[in-house]
Amino acid sequence: MTNIFLASSLPVQWDDTGITVAGTTGSSSSASDRLSYPYDLAVDSSKTMYIAERDNNRVQKWLAGASSGSTVAGQSSGAGGSALNYFNRAGGVAVDSNGNLYVTDPFNHRVQYWASGSSTGTIIAGTGI
């Protein structure tokens, strides 16, 4: 364990041993229980994870304790592209308190907004050069 005092009266320490909470070590695929090069994640107040996967061109929503995720941006197949329901690699992700997603789309040179529950994005930054 690593003992770090976050506040003068409150020691916080983290286990040195990690627990895999999403994906399967060393196994990359587009199956719902797998990840492919996760580049970024967001964790909300319910500990739900939103995971941007570079090589699956998607964002997976993964509930705490779940053994698989569901696709909330991009395609569950992992396919990439330039249409508004695709990414060309998924880079960074931010999520607001209503579950709306802001996702960078590095090789389409744009940022997409996916409203919660939507099956397509809208471009909110960049022209997709």
């Binding site: 364990m1 690593t2 770090i4 976050l6 506040a7 916080v12 320490q13 983290w14 286990d15 040195d16 041993t17 990690g18 627990i19 895999t20 909470v21 999403a22 994906g23 399967t24 070590t25 060393g26 196994s27 990359s28 797998r34 990840l35 492919s36 090069y37 996760p38 580049y39 970024d40 994640l41 967001a42 964790v43 107040s45 500990k47 994870m49 995971i51 570079r54 993964w62 880079g91 960074g92 992700v93 931010a94 607001d96 308190s97 802001y102 996702v103 960078t104 789309d105 590095p106 090789f107 040179h109 744009r110 940022v111 909110i124 930054a125 960049g126 022209t127 050069i129």
Partner: protein, 207 residues
Amino acid sequence: MSFSKCNICLALGVQGTALNQLNTPYGIALNENSGTIYISEYSGHRIVEYLSGASSGTVVAGGNGAGIGNTQLNGPFAIYLDLTSNSLIIANRGVNNIVKWVLGASTWTLLVGSGSGSSGSSSTLLNGPCGVILDPLGNIYVADTSNHRIQFFRKGQTNGTTVAGVTGVSGSTDLLLSGPYAIRLDIDNSLYVADTNNQRIQKFTSY
């Protein structure tokens, strides 16, 4: 001489792309109060701010070509919006440091890592850092990607402690990481690491 240099720069386009364009955006930070977003351009070496609904951005950091000068960035990756200090905390991946850029300022200040761009694996150096966050107390957590570790820096300190992974050791056991790109904290202060090359998310529970 400086005038002609400037013209050369413009001709080569190193001043960056147009303000409605992005060049390989990776990092994103949202100000949920205002709807403003901040975007890092990894190949554009700048951070742009888009107000809610805007069709073009404003450069708020970098935009002066890739470099180690204090008006420049080099391959910026993750960005963290620190509302307490009205600043962006930037994983300046290409020059192996973490910098703070106050919104409205024209230069960065160094938080951790080398001021000259050197990489390394000591407690004061970083190697290709891709991820950075702060906790509510202002302590810094860095995904020190090419060192395969997560570094913790108490606020104001430049000497880090490894809190996950083992320096310089890439592996897939539950003690090791391989090329971690991102880090987050949950409401209980547990650490979540995007353990990128291991195709998994690792959680390090707090006690």
